[in-house]
Amino acid sequence: MNENQLQALSWIVEQYDDQETPVTPADVADHFESDIDAVRSCFDNLESKCLLKCIDGGYRPTVTARELLELDIDDDTVLILDTDPCE
């Protein structure tokens, strides 16, 4: 679900803030009617980019994720995250 990663991240933030419980790949797969394996892969990717953190059997969005969403970047744009900048 590459094209929907930002959309998924946005929903995870809303869901986490509303429910105050960790969000699981199954929650996202149910909501977006997506393949669970694709969603797990998306979660892995978002976690590797410091956007999700694994807690208590689920995931919570990070500060980085919230700041990224505040940039209001379109889904169909170039988006490169460098978590290890050598500057």
Binding site: N45, K49, C50, V63, L68, T77, V78, L81, D82
Partner: protein, 206 residues
């Protein structure tokens, strides 16, 4: 981007352009751009859209140029980007490769494009300097920060690249004009050297 609008092929002719008559003039009537000339002065303008009501110079309507007598060569998009903007192909590859791919890391991009990660970072920063990408810094929970590179608005990009290209084309047109003036001056004056020496000496000085 301007050059994407101009079809090219490898045969050396502009696709869709009709060569007419014995002098091989090029038909410009149906191109997506238009060239107008002033009927009173030497002003020539290029537009990407037909201006409502036509173009004017000295408050008089300009004449649309329908034929080009010079055998112009088809522009190559890579060469145009390199010449006009100093943007090498890898820079463009980065933009084209990852549009809509979601968050991707420089390492993943390097694997996809078969460049080194440091090369990717260099080009990312060049694209920021050039204005095709924006760079932001996000805080990281474990300390430090994450760099984000993302596209500028596509409409803004289209306008900025057109303006940039027109500025470059204006500079190029000035050079061509100056070259013609140099030839005129040579014709009207007495030089010991040949035109070839005078011409290149003039442009070397500048």
């Amino acid at each position: 981007m301007t050059s994407n609008d101009t079809p090219t092929d490898d045969s050396g002719s502009l696709e869709g352009l009709e060569l007419t008559g014995e002098q091989e003039t090029i038909e410009l009537r149906d191109r997506e751009y238009a060239v107008y000339r002033c009927i009173d002065c030497a002003n020539v303008v290029l537009t990407m859209q037909d201006a409502d009501g036509g173009m004017t110079c000295h408050d008089e309507p300009m004449e649309r140029v329908t034929e080009c007598k010079l055998d112009i060569k088809p522009p190559d998009i890579r060469q145009v980007l390199l010449d006009a903007f100093g943007l090498p192909k890898p820079g463009l590859d980065i933009c084209l490769c990852v549009i809509g791919e979601g968050p991707i890391s420089p390492g993943e991009l390097a694997d996809t494009l078969d460049y080194s990660e440091s090369t990717i970072r260099t080009y990312l920063n060049e694209l920021v300097d050039f204005g095709l990408l924006q760079k932001s810094q996000l805080n990281r929970e474990s300390g430090g920060f994450v760099n984000v590179y993302h596209s500028i608005d596509l409409d803004e990009m289209r306008e900025e690249t057109l303006i940039g290209f027109y500025a470059w084309a204006g500079e190029a047109a000035s050079l061509i004009d100056e070259a013609n003036v140099t030839k005129e001056q040579y014709r009207d004056a007495e030089y010991d050297d040949g035109l070839n020496e005078v011409f290149w000496e003039r442009f070397r000085e500048e």
